[in-house]
């Protein structure tokens, strides 16, 4: 340790405080706040065991869906009436349906359908939500008022009923159903984007940037987008889960995916007529929905916790 202190008291008339800036060996301890935002995110996210499990589960699901034709044990459309409504066995791991099709193989292709459908709905919601949200938040004024009122109005209509109505107008098929789900999710994205943009807009660096003549597009791209990215990612993850639920509900009602294709929701929908004979037809695809939705929700929560600021001490 450096020893820089005097051993003798200074002269009485000397003011020891003047010019005193602390002792050389008493420097403040190292600053730990230098890690990058990305690294901090990775550190915090990887410390959440549940969210990691969810991420792995989603990765597995996506892989299975992507390689569906190569991983299925049977042809999902091949009927075998002599082996209809069979309970799970070594040949048919998840049993068979009313015309003897393999449940597992149909679920693998169903995963493909469900994931694509949910992604489609979320994309529609992003386009319909983020763009007007940016406009409303950035320009404010009457544009904001009008867009916010429209959002309010849309949110007053029960979501599933609105979706059904939209499907009713365009006709029942999966594409229309997912467009409808996108429409009902759009207000969330609009509100989220709007408030995030408004918060950023108040920051002085935006003022400064605009005052030196940066174009609106550049300001949005350079300053606004990075700031709304993390809440958006969280919302996308949560919305994927809800979109899968909505797809399942609409397909269950017969307003989504049409036979002979089947999503998990549609499989539950056809299975419920055989509830007492072959409960596995309902239980297994339904359980798959629960797990997938749960994974997206847990991932969303985990992302939110990892993006957020350091939490203050739990108790005071």
């Amino acid at each position: 340790m450096t020893r820089s202190r005097p051993t003798d008291p200074p002269a009485a008339d000397h003011d020891p405080w003047s010019g005193f800036t602390g002792w050389a060996d008493a420097e403040a301890t190292e600053d730990t706040r230098t890690e990058s935002a990305v690294r901090r995110f990775v550190r915090r996210f990887s410390s959440q065991r549940l969210a990691m499990v969810a991420l792995v589960a989603i990765g597995f699901l996506v892989a299975v869906a992507a390689f569906a034709p190569w991983v299925v044990p049977h042809d999902p459309l091949a009927q075998n009436l002599s082996r209809a409504l069979e309970a799970p066995s070594a040949t048919y791991w998840f049993g068979t349906d009313a015309v003897g099709r393999d449940t597992l193989s149909r679920m693998v292709f169903g995963a493909r359908l469900s994931l694509l459908a949910a992604a489609e709905a979320v994309t529609v919601a992003l386009v319909l939500g983020v763009v007007p949200g940016l406009v409303a938040g950035f320009f404010g004024g009457w544009v904001d008022i009008v867009l916010s009122r429209i959002t309010d109005a849309v949110m007053r209509i029960p979501p599933l009923i609105l979706a059904i109505a939209i499907v009713g107008v365009f006709g029942p098929n999966l594409r229309n159903a997912m467009f409808a789900v996108g429409v009902i999710f759009a207000p969330r994205f609009l509100r989220l984007t709007r408030s995030a943009v408004m918060a950023v807009r108040e920051e002085t660096y935006i003022e400064a940037s605009r005052s030196i003549g940066t174009s609106t597009g550049a300001v949005l791209r350079r300053h606004v987008l990075p700031n709304i990215l993390s809440p958006l990612i969280v919302q996308i993850s949560l919305s994927m889960g809800f979109a899968m639920l909505a797809e399942a509900s609409l397909s269950f009602l017969g307003l989504g995916v049409q036979p002979p294709q089947a999503s998990w929701g549609a499989m539950v929908g056809t299975g419920y007529r055989f509830l007492d004979l072959a409960p596995h037809m309902v239980l297994i695809p339904g359980f798959a929905i629960v797990l997938a939705v749960l994974a997206f929700n847990v991932l969303g929560d985990g992302l939110r916790d990892s993006f957020g600021r350091e939490e203050r001490a739990a108790d005071r």
Binding site: W23, A26, T29, D315
Partner: protein, 354 residues
């Protein structure tokens, strides 16, 4: 971390002692186990007297007061040693429900930030009356009558009407009076005032201090005044306890402390106070500049869990010598009733303000 065995300065216990704290130690649960945030603090407050505890944020002054109130989180804090006696009862070892019976009745606390410390969903009358009903077994009407009475006592005009108002309908100063009224509703023996005047502007601050003084005199309460503002201390306190890094570093009567500080930290605090003889003028300049006043002491206070060896103030102390880092300083008596935790307390002559 080694902890020195502290010999508390002994004020002879007398009948007039309202609150007697001895060797209070508080530890918080952290990632690295229990960390000591208050380290063997001892003091007493007499009836009709105001003791000010002064220190920067993080010095342990608020934790000390919360420990006396039994308001520290039970799961993440503990008091491994020490006592806090009120009427001969050790508050620290009381069971939860018995402590609840005393809280708000015999020992009460008024908080800073009355905007957030009062419940926005209930009228002030309701919030005062419920203390009285809780501790006095009073009927609803009786509690309400007492609420009007104490609101009047702390100088809220038209108390009978204002009792039905909600906290957000009062101004900052008036809200702080409500806070005091709530604390004194059951005429406690000890009133703890935590940074009571921090958020207020100068004139309002002086008025609120007046209310505290009046209530203390009328009810014969002992007042424990927690603050970081020496100008307020000069105005309200009879005696002062200066805390630094969880320890008491100096304790003395207010005049002696201001005139002849014995600890370099106190001297540093006094230096950073605007030079002025009257407390109100001092506060006038103090408000608004906020924490910056303490900047003239270089460096940062140490963090609990990584205290410097030897004297905890040594790294920031212009008077520090080898002995300060090598040995752990004890509280030394520099004059009767005046103690300082500084190895060089007896040899140094420090500059006061008057």
């Amino acid at each position: 971390m080694t902890t020195p065995d502290v010999t508390p300065p002994s004020f002879a216990p007398s009948r007039d002692v309202a609150l007697q704290v001895d060797g209070l130690t508080v530890e918080f649960a952290t990632d690295r186990g229990w960390t000591r945030v208050v380290d063997g603090v001892s003091f007493s407050v007499l009836r009709g007297e105001t003791l000010a505890i002064v220190g920067e944020s993080g010095s342990g002054k608020s934790v000390t007061s919360l420990a006396c109130m039994g308001l520290l989180p039970r799961r993440s804090s503990r008091t491994p040693s020490g006592t806090a006696e009120l009427d001969g009862v050790d508050l620290l070892s009381l069971p939860v429900r018995a402590m609840e019976d005393l809280r708000g009745d015999r020992i009460a606390m008024a908080f800073q930030e009355p905007m957030t410390s009062l419940n926005p969903a209930y009228t002030v009358g309701d919030q005062i009356a419920e203390v009285v009903r809780r501790h006095r077994d009073a009927a609803r009407k009786e509690g309400w009558r007492r609420a009007v009475e104490v609101l009047d006592l702390v100088g809220i005009p038209r108390a009978a009407e204002r009792v039905k108002s909600y906290p957000h309908e009062f101004s900052g100063g008036m809200r702080q009076r409500v806070m005091i009224a709530m604390a004194i509703a059951c005429e406690p023996a000890v009133l703890i005032a935590d940074e009571l005047t921090t958020a207020l502007d100068v004139t309002i601050q002086a008025q609120v201090l007046d209310v505290v003084r009046q209530m203390r005199d009328q009810l014969g309460m002992a007042v424990l005044f927690i603050t970081h503002d020496l100008a307020v201390v000069a105005d309200i306190a009879d005696r002062v306890l200066v805390m630094y890094a969880g320890q008491e570093v100096e304790t003395s009567a207010v005049d002696d402390l201001f005139a002849r500080p014995a600890h370099p930290y106190t001297e540093g605090l006094l230096r950073s106070m605007p030079q002025s003889s009257t407390a109100t003028a001092a506060t006038a300049t103090a408000v608004g500049t906020g924490r910056r006043r303490l900047d003239s002491i270089p460096g940062q206070p140490p963090v609990p869990g990584s205290m410097p060896a030897g004297c905890r103030f040594a790294p920031r102390c212009p008077y520090a010598v080898e002995a300060c880092v090598d040995g752990v300083p004890e509280l030394l008596q520099v004059r009767p009733e005046h103690f300082a935790r500084c190895t060089r307390a007896l040899e140094l002559t420090l500059r006061g303000t008057r």
